[in-house]
Amino acid sequence: MRKFVILSLVLAFVLMPLAACKTSKEPDCKKADVFCVGLVTDVGKIDDKSFNQSTWEGVQQAQKELGAIVKYIETTDAKDYDKNIAQFADANYDVIVTVGFALGEATIAAGKKYPNVKFIGVDQFQAEVVPNVVGLIFPEDQSGFLAGALAAMMSKSGKIGAVLGTDAVPPVWRFGEGYRAGAQYINPNIEVNVVYHNDVGFDKTFTDPEWGKTTAISMIDKGVDVVFGAGGKTGNGALLGCAEKGVMAIGVDTDQYYTVPEAQSVLLTSAMKLLTPGTFALIKMAKEGKFPAGGNYVGEAGLAPYHNFEDKVPADAKAKIEELTAAFKSGTMQTGVSPAKPQ
């Protein structure tokens, strides 16, 4: 017993300094010619097939095309936001990308603390202007418009639907009304059922998959043959309702082919916030010294790949979507949707 305790203690003490001998050879981000980009995730994983992953792909593009040194830190507890951001800032990183609205306040605070670092807050509407912090936001109305246009082109019954969270949240309003406008742009006589989950509190409007599912199913029973589900778990519930009925569904935010695999067989596309190009564009601006001076930067909207519907969407419909996407990108076209629900 005694021998073994001594032995193990000796072993432990030998191993410690052995580990300590290892010197880290970190790139020197302080040098002007070394461009470093760090990403801090929201609570979750880097390969979440959603916001974290899409943003990281934008950072990786900067690694390939701009020769940036890139690294990420996954947040495991919300109390570590500041610490994880500081990890990069203290190592003199040039750009720090934070993912998701939950990091909004931590990003602003870090921006004030580290004025020489540029911060990109993905999906964070920044009300306060701090010169080195830019919120990356998206034109949800355009995204919804494209989804509505595609739905109108794919519908055989002339009735389409949308199941959304509360319209008191401006992005949800823009998705829903954009969808309506897009459908009517293609076919002025189409019947569009847009249902917002306004009848419950904020606590439930985005977390009510049962309601989403039953609402979608009751629409389908009335002849609706394409349903757009937008609003967290409530919207995902609508996708599941479509899967149950075998009716086409459209997801939201990221490519939901991966986030709701149960609905893969019916998922036509998703109305996306294009996180990857938006993130890359801002990093590139930072590299070239053209970073916006605070406030918000509006990224691009677009539709996700058609996946299982690649062969079922007619070529002229695909061409129309591409045309509309390009028109929004160049600014030659507007959706006409108000930024928020008129009071």
């Binding site: 017993m1 005694r2 073994f4 305790v5 193990s8 072993l11 432990a12 052995l18 580990a19 300590a20 290892k22 880290s24 970190e26 609570v43 994983k45 880097i46 690294k71 990420y72 830190i73 996954e74 495991t76 507890d77 919300a78 109390k79 570590d80 610490k83 994880n84 990890q87 990069f88 190592a91 609205f101 939950a102 009300a127 949240v169 509190g201 904020f202 606590d203 439930k204 977390t207």
Partner: protein
């Protein structure tokens, strides 16, 4: 003439060392297995462990952050330990902690408005912390009472009460207690009043008085368990409830007290996170502390001082993980894997005894019993 001196020192050290041998070797073995996993995953184990060490203890800030992580671990680890000592398996620390945090936050932000006056810190802070302890106490007492009166198993009931507590918390933070600031879309309470906040110990560092309190509470719990009649009763009921009954101990009462005490400590973990660190409660804070606490209690052999050391170790690993990931880009999940391995080796200590040829047996701890036990 040096020989006898050494031997007395050794005599004092040996029981401590032999009690700590299995946990220490479990940690060492888990780190070695973890190194192999890191290697297979394509990382350099030495780089990774160096990052872990540097991230946990490499600077004053790193040490401060390690204590920040360790503080709730100490409270929650003590909570689970006290229940273990009483022969009860409290899986409900997570729920007790969440409700403790909610109650503490509510008293912290709502009470001044409700009373229409600003409370001085010497009243407000103890009230906020006390509310968290009370919430935890109630949530711990319920399964204790059910066990004592009806024989319903505390494992089942604490798990069920976790679901109720966590969903109730989610409802409150998304609804009635949500920060009413129009720009806020996050499920969290408003900030608590200045008077309900613990002052920082060193400005600029997050190390807070809650850590000091955690150490003092650990001492207190050690004293209660080992030096008081109540502690003796808890331990006796834990070791053998029938013998305790014949000896005249009120077993039902002791079970309720053990679980209530356990709940108080878990609630305290939540209350201290709110008053000492975050100044509000938010979904996403303190996820899984109540479950990590089970591993910490087992690693610390349910000894309050052992729990402090185990909590510091777990806190160091969680804190150092950021630096490790920064340096090596290895998923932080590896830390969870190593912690799970530690738990595995501590729980199945026959593996460690066989691996390292430890022959000396030790007192078996009764962690929980079956129905009607």
């Amino acid at each position: 003439m040096i020989e006898p001196v050494q031997s007395t020192v050794w005599q004092k050290l040996e029981p401590i060392l032999s009690a700590a041998a299995v946990p220490l070797l479990a940690v060492l073995t888990a780190m070695l297995v973890g190194a192999i996993i890191i290697f297979i995953a394509g990382g350099n184990p030495l780089d990774a462990y160096w990052g872990l060490l540097e991230g946990a203890f490499g600077s004053a800030r790193a040490i401060s952050e390690t204590t920040v992580w360790a503080t709730p671990y100490i409270f929650a680890g003590l909570a689970v330990s006290v229940a273990f000592k009483g022969g009860l398996f409290n899986i409900g620390a997570e729920g007790q902690l969440a409700l403790g945090a909610v109650a503490s936050a509510w008293v912290g932000y709502a009470l001044p408005d409700l009373l229409g006056l600003n409370l001085p810190a010497w009243i407000h802070l103890p009230l906020a912390v006390g509310a968290g302890m009370l919430a935890g106490a109630i949530w711990g007492a319920i399964p204790g009472w059910l066990k004592a009166k009806t024989g319903a198993h505390e494992v089942i009931n604490t798990i069920m009460l976790n679901y109720i507590a966590l969903n109730l918390t989610s409802f409150l933070l998304n609804g009635p207690m949500q920060d009413p600031n129009p720009l806020n879309v996050i499920a969290r309470t408003p900030l608590i009043a200045e008077g309900a906040r613990m002052p920082p110990i060193f400005p600029g560092y997050r190390l807070h008085w809650g850590f000091v309190l955690a150490l003092l509470v650990a001492l207190l719990i050690w004293w209660v368990l080992n030096k008081t009649t109540l502690g003796f009763e808890i331990r006796t009921v834990g070791a053998n409830p029938n013998a305790a009954r014949y000896a005249g101990v009120n077993v039902a009462r002791t079970i309720v007290i053990s679980m209530t005490l356990s709940g108080i400590l878990a609630g305290l973990a939540g209350a201290i996170e709110v008053t000492g660190l975050n100044y509000r409660h938010e979904l996403g804070f303190s996820i899984g502390y109540g479950f990590d606490a089970i591993a910490i209690a087992l690693l610390g052999k349910t000894n309050p001082l052992g729990v402090v050391i185990a909590a510091l170790l777990f806190g160091a690993m969680r804190n150092g993980a950021t630096r490790m990931q920064f340096l090596t880009q290895i998923p932080t999940d590896i830390i969870s894997v190593i912690q799970a391995l530690i738990l595995l080796f501590v729980a199945a200590d026959a593996i460690i005894r066989w691996l390292y040829r430890i022959k000396v047996g030790e007192e078996k701890l009764v962690l929980t019993r079956g129905w009607g036990g």
